[in-house]
């Protein structure tokens, strides 16, 4: 699992890759953590790009849930984008797509979250 950061205006894009499973979820969560503090009302927004992620299990969803919970408490905005079909299926089954905004493409996510 890797997480690479880049910035597009006020949107911080965190591009994840690999598997987010019991072996890697904790590292994923720790990698997300430093980026969350600046994601608040009037501050940056975060898009977690998942096009390079081919597998997410329940612990990966929990890591995203914790990140989203923290950002929402700060009145910031966070979304996921560009999920592979199998990952999107896990999101859909878990109904995560209804509580954590999910966009089909990175461009759509960045466009929506750009202040």
């Amino acid at each position: 699992m890797e997480l690479v950061e880049r910035r597009e205006g006020s949107v911080v894009v965190l591009a994840a890759s690999g598997r987010i499973d019991h072996q890697t979820a904790e590292a994923f969560q720790k990698a997300l953590e430093p980026h969350l503090a600046g994601c608040s009302e009037g501050g940056d927004s975060i898009v977690v790009e998942l096009s390079g992620v081919n597998y997410v299990s329940s612990v990966g969803l929990r890591a995203l849930r914790l990140a989203s919970k923290k950002v929402k408490a700060q009145k910031g905005r966070i979304a996921v984008a560009a999920m592979q079909p199998t990952v999107a299926e896990v999101f859909r089954i878990s109904r995560f797509d209804s509580i954590l905004p999910a966009f089909e493409t990175l461009d759509a996510a960045v466009g929506e979250l750009q202040a």
């Binding site: 597998y55 299990s57 612990v59 896990v90």
Partner: protein, 152 residues
């Protein structure tokens, strides 16, 4: 054609990735459809980690986990066997709250929910001191959908 795999699973999270890879490789070399391989991968992750993390009393010294996988032309089946505390994840795991807001969602039960949604059939029984959880996929079935399974 019929093939089987019997595997002793070390009760340690550090070995989980290797165990998953072994089971999925068996499915791959058995040429089962990709949707089943992917569901199997996730199911192994969720089921085995639940057993390792929650299935045993801390002082149990003879922890034992195994799986038996088999495939025919019609069905791929895998049974996870452990000698931990009696526990039927299909009926006793907490029901994840999928409707409430993000902030209010209870933790737990999500892994079992995913497994149940991604298999075609599942069953549990307790016999001779072992939990036995069996997951099955019909190889030529129309892919199961969540809507059919959840009734949503």
């Amino acid at each position: 054609m019929s093939r089987t795999l019997t595997l002793a699973i070390p009760p340690h999270m550090a070995d989980l990735g290797r165990v998953q890879a072994t089971i999925v490789a068996f499915a791959e070399t058995s040429d089962i459809p990709m949707r089943i391989q992917q569901a199997l991968d996730l199911a192994c992750d969720e089921v085995i980690s639940n057993i390792i993390l929650h299935g045993f009393d801390d002082d149990q010294s003879d922890k034992r986990i195994a799986c038996e996988a088999s495939m025919t032309d019609e069905v791929f089946a895998i049974t996870f066997i452990d000698n931990g505390r009696p526990f039927d994840p299909l009926s006793e795991a907490p029901t994840p709250d999928l409707e409430s807001s993000l902030e209010d969602r209870a933790v737990g039960g999500l892994g079992v929910h995913l497994v149940k949604a991604l298999v075609d059939r599942c069953s549990y029984d307790r016999s001779r001191g072992d939990n036995r959880l069996t997951l099955e996929w019909s190889i030529d079935a129309t892919p199961a959908t969540t809507d059919q399974k959840s009734g949503a």
